[in-house]
């Protein structure tokens, strides 16, 4: 190896080193340590951790709260992801077109993105309050009885889903807007001359061209549906009766309320595997259907 070639290798690694150290320390090491810790017991007092094999996973299989959290998370994800993406796309098409009051619309849709989830969740708690809350006040106008939206296990999760959609749709709108602006306008003009309807054009031209953006947004939406539990901590604390406990919220409870770190590690392994499988699935499934410009 010539000295110049060697210098390139050394310089490259030296430049990467500071970031690499932190990445290994706070991403790769903890990911591996999670797997290892899940095979041990939780150290308590003077008793150190001992190897227990699959015991934590066996306990998990019999833990109804785990299954409920997982089930809730699946419902939560399968409602928030498609609805958020559909709304984001609709917003972007509106804001990209010649609609009255475009600046206001864009601002209104995007504002939730810059507000802390923790702050807006407090406001949503008021909306859902029984009796004097905004939702009940509005429904009261048509004579509906008062309803404890967050306190009822049948409605609580739906309330949280609504908040999540409200928070993220405007954020994803931005990416669709950027992509829409890159579609040459003459495509639309040509289609209009040929007599193609707007919906037809959208379905056959716009939507396929937006596929890479949809993939990007989809990945982010999936991650968000497993990563963000701020609103749950503020609004329901997983209740009533675990009806709104999501996987990460349950990990937080087990790890930092009950301090059962080994069991929390096993739960984290499930979450990591889930994220990995979803990521792989998206790439394999969607990559084939994407039309690059």
């Amino acid at each position: 190896m010539t000295p110049t070639r060697l210098r390139i290798h050394i310089h490259g690694w030296l430049l990467l080193l500071p970031a690499a150290v932190l990445l290994v320390a706070f991403t790769h090491y903890p990911a591996i340590a999670t797997v290892i810790d899940s095979l041990f017991s939780t150290p308590r007092g003077l008793r150190p951790a001992v190897f227990v094999g699959m015991d934590n996973y066996r306990a998990m299989a019999e833990d109804p709260i785990f299954w409920q959290s997982l089930g809730n998370n699946v419902i939560y994800a399968s409602c928030t992801i498609p609805l958020t993406i559909a709304l984001a796309l609709l917003m972007a098409v509106w804001v990209n077109g010649k609609i009255a009051g475009r600046p206001f619309l864009r601002m209104a849709f995007f504002t939730p993105t810059v507000l802390p989830m923790i702050a807006v969740a407090n406001i949503w708690v008021f909306f859902y309050s029984p009796g004097y809350g905004l939702l009940d006040q509005i429904l009261g106008l048509v004579g509906a009885p008062s309803h404890n939206w967050l306190g009822n296990e049948h409605t609580a999760l739906a309330c949280l889903i609504a908040v999540a959609i409200w928070k993220d749709a405007g954020f994803f709108m931005i990416f669709y807007l950027a992509a829409l602006q890159q579609i040459p306008p003459h495509l639309g003009e040509a289609a209009a001359l040929e007599g193609a309807g707007r919906w037809y054009f959208f379905r056959r031209v716009t939507f396929p061209l937006l596929m890479p953006t949809t993939l990007f947004v989809l990945i982010n939406a999936v991650i968000n549906s497993f990563r963000l539990v701020d609103h749950i901590i503020v609004m329901t604390r997983g209740g009533p009766d675990n009806a709104t406990s999501l996987l990460l919220f349950y990990i937080y409870e087990v790890g930092f309320k009950f301090w059962d770190t080994a069991y929390a590690a096993s739960l984290t392994v499930v979450l990591l595997v889930l994220l990995a499988v979803l990521a792989l699935g998206q790439f394999i499934f969607l990559d084939r259907r994407i039309h690059y410009q």
Partner: protein
């Protein structure tokens, strides 16, 4: 022909109406917060046009919890994270973009792994690491897991790769070393990306909650989000006026910056999202 034009106009009107209804729904929480925060408690769930205006709720909220300290903490946290991210990501992105070192491809994949396995889900092990290091309940412990950001590295690498090699070589011929070339050629050309990344990072960490909640347990380290949650869930009962006032206070800097520099914000978030 006229009939199609009429239906076209009708759909346009319906769409405009729909867009406006949705937009109003979207600003409703903020509108309510403004209403409740600037009116006396008696009007927090009672919407009368003649309700008197007041700043009393803000004063009460400010005095009820150490918000000044929380503001300082959040400010320190956000600055520290952004500063570290800019330096670390710039160096790493430069390496990935312009140095064909051994193991570059594998290293890059290992970096991108963080986009999927984010620090937000590794709370249990990262807490353990922080206690082993003896830095639980310090501001650096909140920021450390986020400083080497795969997202930042990826973004900067993309833009660095578009810098013409001729510029790079010209600077080298004039005797500049790798770091000087980076500072004189690459960094200035990537300015819009730095602004975009900076805005995204600041809003993310200003709003971040779960990890700070776990790793802090004193007034001197708690950021605004955690402070607000403790304030809103403790002895305030359900005084919506004070809670909304505190809510607005904590979001105000970002919200005002967003309203003033809307175009930059939107463009930044856009830039940060494009492949």
């Amino acid at each position: 022909m006229n009939a199609t034009r009429d239906t076209g106009r009708a759909t346009a009107a319906i769409e405009t109406l729909g867009a406006w209804l949705l937009a109003l729904l979207w600003v409703l929480p903020l509108a309510y917060a403004l209403w409740a925060a600037f009116h006396p408690s008696a009007y927090s769930a009672h919407f009368a046009l003649d309700a008197p205006l007041t700043l009393d709720n803000f004063i009460r909220a400010w005095n009820a919890a150490p918000f000044a300290r929380y503001f300082v903490n959040t400010f320190l946290l956000v600055t520290m994270i952004l500063g570290a991210q800019l330096v670390l990501c710039t160096l790493a992105a430069y390496a990935f973009a312009r140095f064909a070192f051994v193991g570059r491809e594998i290293a890059f994949i290992l970096v991108l792994l963080q986009l999927m396995i984010m620090p937000d889900v590794l709370i249990v092990e990262n807490y353990r690491t922080m206690s082993a290091l003896g830095i639980v309940d310090t501001i650096p412990s909140i920021g450390l897991p986020y400083m080497a950001s795969a997202f930042g590295i990826f973004l900067l690498r993309q833009i660095f790769k578009t810098v013409p090699r001729e510029l790079d070589e010209a600077a080298r011929i004039e005797g500049a070393g790798p770091l000087q070339v980076l500072l004189k050629v690459y960094v200035p050309l990537a300015r819009p990306i730095y602004i975009a990344y900076g805005l995204v990072s600041v809003s993310y960490h200003w709003n971040n909650f779960l990890w700070p909640l776990i790793i802090t347990n004193s007034v001197n380290t708690r950021p605004l989000t955690v402070g607000l949650q403790i304030f809103a869930s403790s002895d305030q009962g359900i005084d919506w006026s004070v809670i909304t006032a505190a809510t607005l206070m904590t979001s105000a800097p970002l919200l005002i910056a967003f309203l003033l520099f809307q175009r930059q914000f939107v463009q930044s978030f856009m830039r940060a999202g494009i492949r």
